[in-house]
Symmetry: D2
Subunit: 364 residues, 4 copies
Amino acid sequence: MKFEAAVIEKFNRGPEIREFDISPLGEGEILVRIEAAGVCGSDLHIFEGRDPRIRLPMIPGHEGAGIVADMKGDVLDVRGNPVHPGDRIIWDRGVVCGRCFYCSVEKKPFLCINRKVYGITFSTADSPFPNGCYSRYIKLSSLTRIVKAGADISPEVLVPVGCSGATSFHAVEESGLREGETVVIQGPGPLGIFAAAFCRNRGAGHIIMTGSGKSRKRMELARSFGVTHLVYRDEMALESQLEFIKSLTGGRGADIVFEMAGSAGAVESGQHFLARGGRYMITGIAVPVGSVGIDVYENLVRKNASVRGVWVSDTSHLLKALEAVEDLRYPFEKLVSRRFSLVEAGQAIESVKDRDVLKSVIMP
Amino acid sequence: MKFEAAVIEKFNRGPEIREFDISPLGEGEILVRIEAAGVCGSDLHIFEGRDPRIRLPMIPGHEGAGIVADMKGDVLDVRGNPVHPGDRIIWDRGVVCGRCFYCSVEKKPFLCINRKVYGITFSTADSPFPNGCYSRYIKLSSLTRIVKAGADISPEVLVPVGCSGATSFHAVEESGLREGETVVIQGPGPLGIFAAAFCRNRGAGHIIMTGSGKSRKRMELARSFGVTHLVYRDEMALESQLEFIKSLTGGRGADIVFEMAGSAGAVESGQHFLARGGRYMITGIAVPVGSVGIDVYENLVRKNASVRGVWVSDTSHLLKALEAVEDLRYPFEKLVSRRFSLVEAGQAIESVKDRDVLKSVIMP
Amino acid sequence: MKFEAAVIEKFNRGPEIREFDISPLGEGEILVRIEAAGVCGSDLHIFEGRDPRIRLPMIPGHEGAGIVADMKGDVLDVRGNPVHPGDRIIWDRGVVCGRCFYCSVEKKPFLCINRKVYGITFSTADSPFPNGCYSRYIKLSSLTRIVKAGADISPEVLVPVGCSGATSFHAVEESGLREGETVVIQGPGPLGIFAAAFCRNRGAGHIIMTGSGKSRKRMELARSFGVTHLVYRDEMALESQLEFIKSLTGGRGADIVFEMAGSAGAVESGQHFLARGGRYMITGIAVPVGSVGIDVYENLVRKNASVRGVWVSDTSHLLKALEAVEDLRYPFEKLVSRRFSLVEAGQAIESVKDRDVLKSVIMP
Amino acid sequence: MKFEAAVIEKFNRGPEIREFDISPLGEGEILVRIEAAGVCGSDLHIFEGRDPRIRLPMIPGHEGAGIVADMKGDVLDVRGNPVHPGDRIIWDRGVVCGRCFYCSVEKKPFLCINRKVYGITFSTADSPFPNGCYSRYIKLSSLTRIVKAGADISPEVLVPVGCSGATSFHAVEESGLREGETVVIQGPGPLGIFAAAFCRNRGAGHIIMTGSGKSRKRMELARSFGVTHLVYRDEMALESQLEFIKSLTGGRGADIVFEMAGSAGAVESGQHFLARGGRYMITGIAVPVGSVGIDVYENLVRKNASVRGVWVSDTSHLLKALEAVEDLRYPFEKLVSRRFSLVEAGQAIESVKDRDVLKSVIMP
């Protein structure tokens, strides 16, 4: 059987549409017809050759949703439901070994030393193949964790759940957010929007989104996801931002600050918002940004506070993110800003640079 | 290649020594020459036909240690060390699916709904084969989690780590024991002896072992594993036992009580030992014992206390139990009471009934 | 200054309206004009002489809200806001010592061995006086923890926060409820209604309320507080109830069951609803009910599940319960079923027996 | 009654020995005859005028142990034992309000916004008086939390428990250390020595102490407190230190690093030692050190690791530290390097600068 996929053969070129053959399925493997593939900020890094994990040629796309086209053997999804051809599914983009120290002893599979990621760590020479979502089909190995999605959620809404949704949930979970706590979210991108909804679902009190005036549309949209206050950081001095946060919290500050802007500058400013006992969750920084200054006495020791890094996600985070979307309490369909066809993959990747675009989706 | 194993073909008979063939190894599989196989209380249940999971004919033995005789492909153990022929290893007796709700979302693989156990849930018709430890060899599937053991620990000392050690560690971990807390352990069997050492390693204050005067040798041995006080339950009224525990704790009672005696009677008495905020860990009850009366107001509500069940173990518990043995702080070699050859498997199983025997081991 | 209060002088009689003098305030003390006093199930126990802590004569009423009439010295509430005459406040009914093992080391003040409770452990001879809420005034000691309430919440809505709200929050917090978990609540009383809202706020998935057909009005009301399914236990066999719960959860069962019915029978049935890893929270049983049978192997060990008792509450629970009411997401005003004047205190206590009454309030 | 105390009247002068009167005791107050007062690094800061909390004239000394000379009313210690004249006691140097947000809601009294500290925040004009330990007597307010110490532990051994012991325990507790984890401790001072013992008591695996060759005596002493490896940071390049740590841990790195050196440089180097999932506990930095560079991507995000500040301690930490000393497993008496009389208070403070001195004690 033949199929088409978008392939990066040289950095900063293409991707090119190529035709490939699909080989027969092995036991437990699933062939998925991709309905929608998400375009993530890291796809731009990949395209530009800034991600050291990449081996060319490769099919990008680590966020996807699709319909089971074929499968071999019986498979249950992580909720215990049998998977059949015709079912709409999503899956954990990371495939973990289950046997290393982090998988079996720490039980933190997101730290698995053998973790592979569809659309990132596979080249076209690797198996299973096809192995990225910018493609009409993807083949999922028997170790891949599958979740059947409700038929009433459209595939482009499911797509961001798999990466930014799951990672954002991971950050909220590790923050230990308790009822009534005050939250600051830096950055109204997909990570931040998801975080707002997750925090609201978990009983947060004030949820303050900080962002640039250039992202005004996204900032306003954030209100629909539980954000209670907007702070435009380029229209207000840092000192005034801090005063505002303190005014909401009896002078204490924010219990949790989520860095979801992806910049060192966010860390430099956001650390000052912490209350005593506060937690600063660095979630958006996915590439090296150098050394960032922390006022360790004033912001950490004196406050008994912490700064924590959040690395990717695992299946538990994926499922919880999906459940929040299925719950229908928030308008997640509004996250999808633009839709592209497979041949427009290059434009789709470029669209990530546009500050008005929250999420671009390729529908092969 | 031919090998011999002890096989239960009919309940309450044998086991018979049979000869089998070993088929070629698949990718990631390991063939182990068994040096020592532990005899567990549940082996007696299996032999007598009281364990509903059993399908005959089968090779018993879920605790084992041995030398890698052959392997196919590269395998790392859970500590990240490469495994080679000639290495002494132990392994997680439970093989889990990695994809069900409990494995991938709850991250409690000991609750995996597809969990298989060497020496228990396999018949001689199943693969991998051989699949029990009362055998000269066992073949471990590629999903089995392996741990290389230090060469300086003898195999019969490693054996109890795999079942009672790991389960006991699980209980201590779930108890949330904090430094200085007072612990009561009911039952000086392998579970209880391990628990004493684990509690001491974790900073427990008083460690009180309760048991029968018929187990006086084991009770005395427990002192070498961190137990600070012995209470002979058949020589002291329950009320006096409670008074004694209170006298050690400023009138508060025990922070944690471990049921490791395997009887409903232990639950009936042990619940009264709890302090406010206490935790009662039912660990030894491995078969149905009917309904047990709990004074829910006096012992749970008024004390904000809990009763918790502990089910088997996972790889993290196994590794931590092993590390405690490797630490050489306690004389774990004293746990091994009797050694049997493979042809004496029937006697070995019978020896579990003897109150003076802490641990019997078969050395094929 | 003179004031009137309802006093129990003999069990099963009165209460009588008596006039008393108010003595001058000490440093840090607050005199509160009671606007509303809640009638709790335990007030009936007190009235009938079934509560061993009671010394007569005494003024009942441990739930109250009122206006600061007078105060001596500066007082901040627990949110850090200054308290002034004219402010509407509630307070932690329990006054704790701050220096015992449970207060200072365990940091679980609800277990304080010196805990005193307004309206329960004080007689009219004790100081501070007046010290119960069935009164025109109450005097709060300098150790009492105060919370200023928003002026837009009516006092009778605040009243149940102080006892059933806070205790219910305590139960939800100790349950460790995580996003998406399935909850069963046994009993549509104030505890259960609050629990539904708290669970929903914390991201619960299915919330199933079980109750009798005789409480149909309350059961239906529970839907407004986040309950997603109603199970009438007298119209459905236990086995069918369990099947229903399993049908909602991929066959797993309930992650958490809250006993909020106050009966041993609830424990006997509810334990069977637990999923693997489940937690059974006994919250409603406030008086001895004798020994209750637990199938420890099937419901606790095999499932690695627990049964936990929940004892009263502390200031953290009170504040979190208040915040949920202030959040205005649920119609807490509907909890108040009947209003009484001070002279009707006897009838108010009797009204607790009426199954249609969710909450009675005395407005002195 | 008259008594003498050492008083700082001007910074960098004295302290002067002055004579004062003791006023009558109030209810719940305790008069203690000081047997030993610890000299802490922060006493030097106080003496030099670098601590902004100080109001002169004042009696320094926040670590003390002594004999109850007089008391008014019944007092129980935090273990529930009655306190009598003649008892040897220690106490929590911090007196907390019990009613602020951090005391009553967060239940983290070490963050109390009204926290007062004997020997630091009191001037000679404040009550209770005397209120510092460089004195023949101290008067403890009724809110002070008391612990009776075993009579067999000498007062100079008890002294460091109250500040560095308690703070060190706080750090170990917040680190969440689990059995078998690898620990690096930066700095062989009292904080670090205590931490080694606490980590060992809690089941740590490797315990690596890093320090300067100038502190060789203290480094060697650390071995007696559970340290398994010494790393002289001025004799080994940072890269080699890291390689050494990785060689012990299957290439993973340290699970926990304790900064107990009090310098920004320690943070700059120590962050690199972290394993995936690691925690860096800043404990020794007690004065502002400016902004410290953290490689947030490499050391926090990519590793899902955290940097946490630890601020002082509360009564629970004090008691646990004391219990470790009472346990007699480690030679805590070796911490006391030098003894001074009250008139030598100035020399005692100066002795803190001597790298061979672990702990100086004043014995009035």
